[in-house]
């Protein structure tokens, strides 16, 4: 199993969720985060001074998927989270050794 840690633009969440849904991804966890990257924040004028807002609101979407779904899931995120502007975000792929469903105690892929 892999964890896809996707950092995306907040207003793309709904669309990405639907896309993942369509390819049968059964669960995900969303965290409100603030991100800093090449986008290097944006300029904002406040009380006459121009500031750099470094950290911009992003959504972190954690999805654990079976290995064979990784490519498809990645594609779904790439296609639906993309606006073409800097700051669209990243997908980090990490290894997950086990998953356990708390309700039933099922383990591994069955738990997803």
């Amino acid at each position: 199993m892999k964890l896809l840690k996707c950092i995306i633009q907040p207003h793309k969440l709904e669309q990405v969720k639907d896309a993942l849904n369509n390819i049968g991804i059964k669960g995900m966890t969303v965290t409100e985060v603030k991100g800093y990257g090449r986008q290097r924040g944006h300029k904002e004028i406040y009380r006459g001074l121009e500031y750099n807002i470094f950290f911009l609101p992003k959504i972190q979407l954690d999805v654990v998927v079976e290995d064979q779904l990784v490519n498809e899931a990645t594609k779904a995120v790439l296609e639906n989270a993309r606006t073409g502007h800097i700051g669209d975000g990243k997908i980090f792929v990490m290894d997950v050794q086990n998953a356990i469903r708390i309700r039933t105690g099922e383990e591994g892929q069955d738990a997803l």
């Binding site: 904002e44 004028i45 406040y46 009380r47 006459g48 001074l49 500031y51 750099n52 807002i53």
Partner: protein, 456 residues
């Protein structure tokens, strides 16, 4: 958290607090409330005027919590309580000072007099002694004298609280308490005496200040500028953005300030008649014009009509109309409010560019707005609307009023800045103005008050 131990009340703190309490107790015992007024009796009370002034007093009281929210929304999360507390506790501390002796210094029988002109009140009315229920012939001759004292109390409370915007997010709370107490006694009371007391020298000169443009806004606004410079910018200024953490709270403050300002201005008529209506009308209109003007300035120069601009503009309009409120008509109010919106918004930009960290723009709004209002009173005041206008305004074809207005502004600024400078120097050397860098980073809420505004 061992770290926090360092901030535990030290014996020095304790004695400081003890001394303060002793002071209060002493004064509480001192006064005996036998109130007399040779010329008026309770029978002279006018119910309608009293009703309106009761309401106005309550409205002005509400302005201090309102200010707490206006300011509170503008700071960062970790300092919101400290800012709110600075306003809220002013209601406590300044009220006590006012009743014990502040009112007497400001409005009491003259202590320091040169010719007919008075410079300070005596302690004759300390502890509300001689401030009875019969109306005072001069101050408000149809409402109980004591109500006038309370009405003025609310003004005395909010004025130092206004300054707190300048040094938000970095002043020690203990020093803050000492500062507003001293400032109230040494700056506010004398200036109020000059402008509003029976024989105040600025009053004698014919300067007009309907509801406190000079006394409240100029005195606090220029002091704010001074403190902002003396206490130095917040860590990270101007590199970092200190954006408002909750603009809804700020709009709540602006809305309640607008509401309360009807008491501030229309209440200053001290009666429920045509002057109150003149003041009410110009107050509302100037706030509206200020909000619209600042919003359009934002739209032009920052591409977006911001809600912070609209809210700040409303306050700027309210500040500017304050000295003029009872003397000008609706169209003058549009002009005054509109000018205030534009100029204050520019002042705010300029001050930031100058590297001055008047964090919440107490100067840009109250200092500048108050000055605009005092000057424009000299332009627009109309004896047609209010018989208290005895000198001709610019539009009325004379410069006498304008001269008095400028003199009042300059005298107030000079006095406020000099005395505040001394107070701040003394406090800096004895108690220190600022928290440490680490404390500033951790936030005043947890450091100074041991509380967090929001938990979940």
């Amino acid at each position: 958290m061992m770290f926090l131990k360092r901030f535990r009340t030290s014996p020095r703190n304790r004695s400081f607090i003890m001394a303060l309490l002793a002071c209060v107790a002493l004064f509480a015992l001192l006064g005996c409330t036998k109130a007399e007024n040779p010329h008026k009796t309770i029978a002279d009370i006018n119910g309608a005027d009293t009703a309106w002034l009761l309401v106005s007093t309550a409205l002005v009281m509400l302005m201090t919590p309102a200010l707490a929210f206006f300011y509170g929304g503008l700071v960062r999360n970790k300092n919101v309580l400290s800012v709110v507390m600075q306003s809220f506790i002013a209601l406590g501390v300044i009220t006590i000072i006012w009743v014990l002796f502040g009112y007497s210094l400001a409005f009491g029988p003259s202590l320091i007099k040169v010719g007919e002109s008075s410079f300070l009140g005596s302690l004759n009315w300390a502890g509300a002694r001689n401030v009875g229920l019969a109306p005072h012939t001069v101050y408000a001759n149809t409402v109980p004298h004591r109500l006038f004292m309370m009405y003025q109390c609310m003004f005395a409370v909010i004025t130092p609280a206004l300054i707190s915007g300048a040094f938000a997010e970095r002043m020690k709370f203990k020093t803050y308490l000492a500062f507003i107490s001293l400032w109230c006694i040494l700056v506010y009371c004398p200036v109020a005496h000059w402008v509003w007391s029976e024989n105040g020298w600025l009053l004698k000169l014919g300067a007009l200040d309907f509801a406190g443009g000079t006394v409240v806004h100029i005195s606090s606004g220029y002091t704010a500028l001074l403190v902002a410079i003396m206490i130095k910018p917040r860590r990270g200024f101007p590199r970092e953005a200190f954006v408002p953490h909750n603009l809804i709270t700020t709009v709540l403050g602006a809305g309640l300030l607008w509401f309360g300002w009807f008491g501030f201005n229309a209440g200053s008529a001290l009666s429920s008649g045509s002057v109150a209506v003149v003041a009410f009308t110009s107050t509302h209109i100037a706030a509206a014009a200020g909000a619209v003007a600042w919003m359009f300035v934002d739209w032009f120069f920052k591409d977006k009509p911001t809600i912070l601009g609209a809210a700040s503009g409303a306050v700027a309009g309210l500040v500017a109309i304050t000295p003029a409120a009872g003397y000008v008509g609706p169209l003058a109010a549009i002009v005054i409010g509109g000018i205030a919106g534009v100029v204050c918004s520019y002042a705010v930009t300029l001050r930031a560019r100058k590297g001055i960290d008047d964090a919440l723009d107490a100067f840009g709004v109250h200092g500048v707005g108050g000055t605009i209002g005092a000057i424009l009173t000299g332009v627009f005041a109309s004896s047609y609307l209010n018989s208290a206008v005895t000198k001709p305004s610019l539009l009325g074809g004379g410069v006498a009023l304008m001269g008095a207005q400028i003199l009042a502004v300059v005298a107030t600024i000079a006095y406020a800045v000099i005395v505040s400078y001394i107070i701040l120097k003394v406090l800096d050397l004895t108690m220190g103005l600022r928290v440490s860098t680490e404390e500033e980073q951790m936030g005043l809420d947890i450091i100074e008050h041991g509380e967090a505004a929001y938990t979940s």
